[in-house]
């Protein structure tokens, strides 16, 4: 009895050790192109409700500006590798797990709403910036709030796990104001806090605000107001230390920028009515976004803040 327990324990230990070693072997960088060519499968990370950038239509189908861009990119990769067929698997990710999943190889290319900043560039790489986000404030139209200075002492909602939380904290410290922060567990929840009156304002990326307002019961009741609190480049994530794949993605995106395809895609997702509710977000491309298309780069958010 004792001996078989020992053997069992040893076997378990070996199994754990083997998986550990196998994990250590899967390249932090490594060759994504080779992996795609060998397996014929590529996994795209998508979001379930990130405004117009990436969202679910239900039933395992995903759509959005970044989803469409990535599908074009993967088409180009398929041509580049000379594959007859390339299976694209859609993997929904969250703010919490998107970076670990890209790092460990589960997701090859993440096409959601990830801010490109210096901290994250230590763990992953970003393709050229395709969308520049501006953090704004959404309030009820009749509240009379027009700027962040008027929010001192009021309840401000934002979503857990986003960069806006730290942004509000930095603003409080820099300007000596104090907000009462309420956190929603996701964007829809945070908007519900604004809708039900538990919060006086909702601070988040402009396109998410516009998307939530468009989907709400009475869009005319809300307004996006105030100065731009932060300018953040949103990029498509790929693994770090994999220059070949990043170049393939960048080349494809730059080609789309030069040919005007990206502007058309932006218009399709942000200005025209979109599924599932056939409502339009109504947010034309900002100056920052157009500048990013004119001069493709993958600079992190910190460089934008310095300007």
């Amino acid at each position: 009895m004792k001996r078989s327990m020992f053997v069992l324990a040893a076997a378990l230990w070996a199994a754990v050790g083997a998986t550990g070693a196998a994990q250590a072997q899967s390249p932090a960088g490594g060759d994504t192109l080779k992996k795609i060519k060998d397996s014929g499968v590529v996994t795209m990370g998508v979001r379930e409700s990130s405004g117009g950038l990436s969202f679910t239509l239900g039933d395992g189908k995903y759509a959005g500006f970044h989803v469409e861009l990535c599908e074009s990119v993967l088409n180009d990769v398929k041509r580049q590798l000379g594959l007859a067929k390339l299976e694209v698997r859609y993997q929904p990710v969250t703010s919490q797990n998107r970076i670990p999943l890209v790092q460990n190889g589960t997701v090859d290319i993440e096409c959601g709403s990830t801010t490109n900043n210096a901290t994250r560039q230590k763990d992953v790489a970003f393709a050229v910036t395709t969308y520049v986000e501006e953090v704004r404030i959404a309030v009820k139209a009749n509240s009379g709030i027009t700027s962040i200075a008027q929010l001192s002492g009021k309840k401000v909602a934002t979503t857990t796990g986003t960069t806006s939380v730290q942004l509000l904290r930095k603003h409080e410290k820099a300007n000596g104001v104090n907000f009462e922060e309420v956190f929603g567990k996701d964007h829809a929840d945070s908007f519900l806090l604004l809708e039900s009156g538990r919060a006086d304002a909702f601070v988040m990326d402009g396109q998410i605000l516009a998307g939530q307002i468009a989907k709400s019961k009475a869009p005319a009741d809300y307004k996006i107001v105030g100065e731009v609190l932060s300018v953040e480049p949103i990029g498509i994530m790929v693994r770090k230390d994999d220059p070949a794949f990043k170049k393939a993605v960048d080349d494809s995106l730059v080609a789309m920028m030069k040919s005007g395809a990206i502007a058309k895609a932006y218009d399709k997702w942000f200005v025209q009515p979109i599924p599932p509710a056939n409502k339009a977000i109504g947010l034309p491309a900002s100056e920052g976004t157009k500048a990013a298309w004119a001069g493709p780069n993958d600079k992190p958010a910190e460089d934008y803040a310095k300007k």
Partner: protein
């Protein structure tokens, strides 16, 4: 195993400066300040909810063992209502739905709403355990008490409950530990407790492993401390020869 960076706890939450003493100074907070404050919130929510649950749960458990049908039905209704709805759904009901139906509750801070939600949820489980503890006693105990001239409340107070509670200390310990763990659901309604800290700090610092290990450690320590306190209570209140004693 990748490189550890436990220094992340000494980082300021608004910038990147690493504070020498790991605690913020001059209005600044580090992640260490934040995790301790979050731990405080977790313990506050859990312990207040535990008090609510023990009081209400014991009351309902006792009512379910009385000979009066209406009281039994009241106790049963309470227990079944709060047992059959998931905790997270109950928390959302208290936070979003009930204040819409009962406007005075809109002014109540979300902290109290979560305490009620968690307390009522756990009280259903505690009522079941207290009822089981009372029913585990021989029937003769109740009748002997009544035969001696004690009223029903006196019989409960002096004869039944002292024995029943000693019997159910282990299951009640489990419930207390469960409340510590279930308090993590409070992040969904904007209580700045440990789970919310973990999600937010992991996003900001990208050092998920260290953050989650620290949070796991704090949850474990909290629950285990309750476990040990309950053990002390059990040994101190033990009466040799009574049911449930060694």
């Amino acid at each position: 195993m990748a490189n550890w960076d436990w220094q992340v706890f000494c980082k300021s939450t608004t910038g990147d400066e690493v504070s020498l003493r790991c605690f913020g100074a001059g209005g600044d907070t580090t992640y260490l300040d934040w995790i301790l404050s979050a731990w405080g919130w977790t313990l506050s929510v859990a312990l207040l909810a535990l008090i609510v649950a023990l009081v209400l749960g014991s009351l309902m458990g006792i009512l379910r063992t009385t000979p009066h049908r209406k009281l039994v039905m009241l106790g049963n209704a309470w227990t079944e209502l709060f047992r059959n709805i998931p905790l997270l759904v109950q928390i959302f009901l208290w936070y979003h739905v009930i204040p819409a139906l009962v406007p005075p509750l809109k002014g109540v801070p979300s902290f109290m709403l979560v305490v009620f939600a968690l307390g009522f949820f756990t009280s259903a489980r505690i009522s079941e355990q207290v009822k089981a503890g009372i029913q585990a006693l021989p029937r003769g105990q109740r009748y002997a008490g009544l035969a001696m001239g004690l009223t029903l409340p006196q019989t409960y107070r002096y004869v039944l409950l002292p024995m029943a509670f000693r019997i159910v200390i282990p299951p009640l310990t489990s419930e207390a530990m469960n409340i510590i763990k279930n308090s993590s659901a409070a992040f969904a309604v904007s209580i700045a407790e440990l789970t919310m800290f973990a999600m937010q700090a992991q996003e900001e610092t990208s050092r998920g492993v260290e953050i989650y290990l620290a949070v796991t450690g704090l949850y474990f320590v909290s629950a285990f401390a309750l476990n040990r306190i309950a053990l002390v209570i059990e040994t101190r209140t033990r009466v040799p020869g009574m049911i449930g004693a060694k």
